[in-house]
Amino acid sequence: MLSLWRKIRSTGRVAEPAPPAPAPTRPTGAAADGPAALPMFGGSVQIRHVDTGSCSGCEIEIGAAFGPVYDAERYGARLVASPRHADALLVTGPVTRNMVAPLRRTYEAVPEPKVVVAVGDCARNCGVFGGAYGIAGPVSNVVPVDLEIPGCPPRPETIVAALRTLTGR
């Protein structure tokens, strides 16, 4: 217990200094075909992550984005354990055939208003898996996508910046 306290004290704060807040309406990472106005959540967005067939690269970066260094939670974004608690879905990977129905049901389970964020190139356009057996297509084929984060995998800074356009902080 004491050693834990000592560790906390000696480590101190490791979070990166916060970059300036995003412009209120224009999402920085949004693709050209993204909707112009996203619903505003008043500074707090609860996020459910759905892996529809990812290689886990994006998961590692999401983990880093919510870790102590990039610390997305200080901007009001928070990962939750059920779509019933969520405002936004964070979808990674190309949608495999087995995940089409679960993804659609998860989308239906999120209360309105809701947004879907496609994280990584696979979620946007199937990436290297495009046309492969067992792939049903990108996320936008299954559920409407509001925000896309490019990269294979996207850097944590990019993820955090994109999420900040949702929270507006």
Partner: protein, 673 residues
């Protein structure tokens, strides 16, 4: 007219006639006649018991019936409590047994022995001499053993359970016999009046010996650790109406014996007796409920819960003795009243719980909670009955056990400033033990009710379960009504219980009641169970109404699919099981329980990364049993092997043994004369 005497004699006659009817009536009507006869015996016993509690004496002397000693019955208020409890249990169980007998219990022997068992339990608290007590005790042991063995043809485990029960109960009888004979040797004769007169004058050493010996015997009947080994074996294997009788009525008589010998006949005694009793009671309560919390067999769980509740009763008795030894007579009366009230409430809810468990067993053939579930749709009445019993057993405010445990805690808490150093150490520990027990009881019964009756059925038998016949439901209804009555209006019986407790310890009545409120005499504390239940109901209704009002104020209702992780409909295999529900508890108490579990993972042939099956096995051995009984049993078996060399099968040698032992005896006689 003397109701106590009349009731006792009526019970004797109806019990005997019912047993005879069990022998003589033809099979189709046998169970009905015996059931009604048993219930009538119960009604007579209740009348006798209540009249005796009100102060009517009943004396029956049958000097010719048993050679040398004769039979002598005297019903006093203390005995009256236990006679009334036994009678009330017999009424519910007798009616219940009419329907339950359909499941292979219509045989002549079973139906004839059942009323005898009830009768012997009614007579034990009325016995007023050593010979009578031992005779009734042995009759009770033998009849209950026959009843436990009723289903031995169907399940081989019954025989093993019966052996354990037979050995334990007879060893108990032997120590009680020795204890009472030592006591009687120091008194004028074997009647309780003579023992009572001699009690305060016998030397402390003899008195201590008598108390410890009889305490061991009666404690084993009450299922107190470490002598509880028979209880979780015999209760599940006995037919459920017998389990109800044993668990709700018979084990009480162990507590009765301790109170009768310790308080009445030996006249109190030094503090260490009662400290010992209190410690054993507290340990039994915690250990019993802990094993109940992790057992998955419904009736075994209820059996362990019996150990717990008897432990709580003995905590009350022990505290009462401790207070009496240090001169705090009002507190002693309070603790004794709590113990007696707990005997009554335990009898009510345990009858109900065992009857519901029997109803489930009859409908599904399953006792394992991991195979049950989803009984609410097929068996609504049984589910409601078990729910009511579970609420009563878990010592939460609108439940029956709450009142008695509240009284017990009041006695223990107020005992802290009252008496000396030992009390200052023991009382807080006892309060903690009772509180821990109450908490674990909630876990246990939430598990038993939630896993066993709600959610989806986990086996086809549970899915096809149908409600039990009307006679069984009537029996459960009676026990359920008793539970509700004890929970809401304990004020009706508490003055009587308080007076009996006061009579036992020689104090004023420790509780004062008006229409709905219980007040403690001399110490601060009051409780209104009815008002409390009303307040809870009102709060619940208000909360529900508020939630509904908020929900309906919203503009539109949305139909949404039940969230099932997106993967398709939920199945019974995804449910919590009794094992998984208790797993966190098992981890917390791993030092005490030391569960054995192993996990076998088999992989598919092509890849080590793909799992084919996972096999999880968990056993929680009774640790006390393993440490204490296994060495003794192993030593006995070793003895047996050595002894076998003496019996090689030669007739000459056996004749020789007889001859030489006769000669040795004769020589001994000649030398000693």
């Amino acid at each position: 007219m003397n109701v106590a005497l009349g009731g006792l004699l009526t019970a004797l006659v109806t019990g005997g006639l019912s047993a005879l009817a069990g022998l003589l009536f033809p099979t189709p009507r046998r169970a009905t006649v015996v059931g009604i006869g048993t219930a009538a015996t119960g009604v007579a016993a209740v009348a006798a018991g209540v009249a005796a509690m009100a102060g009517q004496p009943a004396v029956v002397a049958l000097p010719q019936l048993l050679p040398l000693a004769g039979l002598l019955f005297t019903l006093d208020p203390l005995g009256g409590v236990f006679v009334a409890v036994t009678g009330a249990v017999a009424v519910a169980v007798g009616i219940y047994g009419i329907g339950y007998a359909r499941h292979g219990l219509r045989g002549r022997s079973f139906q004839a022995v059942l009323p005898l068992f009830v009768l012997s339990m009614v007579l034990v608290p009325a016995a007023a001499s050593v010979g009578t007590l031992l005779l009734c005790w042995e009759l009770m042991a033998l009849t209950s053993l026959l009843l436990v063995l009723a289903e031995h043809r169907r399940r081989p485990q019954v025989a093993s359970a019966g052996r354990w029960y037979a050995v334990m109960t007879h060893l108990g009888l032997v120590v009680i016999l020795i204890g009472l004979l030592v006591f009687a040797a120091n008194a004028a004769d074997g009647s309780f009046a003579a023992l009572r007169a001699a009690g305060p004058t016998v030397s402390p050493l003899v008195a201590g010996l008598v108390f410890v010996l009889t305490g061991i015997g009666f404690g084993s009947k009450a299922g107190i650790i470490p002598l509880h080994a028979w209880l979780p074996r015999a209760h599940p294997e006995a037919p459920s109406n017998v389990s109800a009788l044993m668990s709700a009525a018979m084990v009480n008589l162990g507590a009765y014996g301790i109170v009768r010998i310790g308080f009445d006949l030996l006249g109190g005694g030094p503090g260490w007796w009662w400290l010992l009793l209190l410690g054993l009671g507290a340990a039994s309560a915690i250990y019993g409920i802990l094993l109940a919390a992790i057992s998955t067999d419904l009736k075994r769980l209820l059996g362990y819960s019996t150990t717990e509740n008897m432990g709580l009763v003995l905590v009350g008795v022990g505290a009462s003795g401790l207070f009496a030894a240090s001169g705090e007579s009002t507190l002693a009366g309070l603790a004794m009243a709590a113990a007696l009230l707990h005997v009554i409430t335990h009898a009510a809810f345990k009858t109900l719980l065992f009857q519901s468990a029997g109803s489930v067993l009859a409908a599904t053939g399953r006792r394992d909670l991991d195979d049950l579930g989803g009984l609410r749709t097929g068996m609504p009445f049984t589910t409601a009955a078990f729910g009511l019993g579970a609420l009563a057993a878990s010592a939460l405010p609108p439940g029956a056990a709450f009142v008695s445990e509240w009284l017990l805690l009041q006695a223990l808490i107020h005992g802290l400033p009252a008496s000396g150093l030992s009390a200052a150490i023991v009382m807080p520990l006892a309060v903690a033990a009772v509180a821990l027990t109450a908490g674990l009881a909630v876990v246990t019964f939430v598990k038993a009710f939630g896993i066993g009756f709600l959610a989806k059925p986990r086996s086809p038998e549970a899915a096809a379960a149908r409600e039990s016949p009307a006679s069984m439901l009537t029996g459960m209804g009676l026990a359920g009504a008793a539970c509700v009555g004890l929970a809401l209006l304990p004020t009706v019986i508490l003055p009587g219980i308080g007076a009996v407790a006061a009579g036992v310890v020689g104090s004023g009545n420790p509780v004062v009641v008006d229409a709905v409120t219980i007040r403690l005499a001399d110490v601060a504390g009051s409780l209104s169970p009815l008002l409390l239940a009303l307040a809870l109901t009102v709060a619940l209704v208000a909360a529900l109404a508020a939630a509904r009002a908020v929900a309906t104020r919203r503009a539109t209702a949305i139909d949404a699919r039940l969230w099932d992780c997106g993967g398709g409909p939920l199945s019974a295999r995804m449910e919590y099981t009794a094992t998984s529900f208790a797993e966190p508890l098992q981890r917390v108490f791993d030092d005490v329980l030391s569960a054995e579990q192993d996990v076998d993972v088999t992989h598919v042939e092509e890849s080590r990364y793909l799992v084919q099956t996972i096999d999880y096995r968990r056993r929680v051995p009774d640790r006390i049993e393993r440490r204490l009984y296994q060495p003794v049993l192993a030593a006995l078996a070793g003895w047996g092997r050595v002894g076998r060399r003496l019996a090689p099968g030669s007739v000459h040698r056996y004749l020789g043994y007889g001859f030489y032992s006769l000669c040795a005896m004769l020589i001994l006689l000649v030398v000693t004369r």
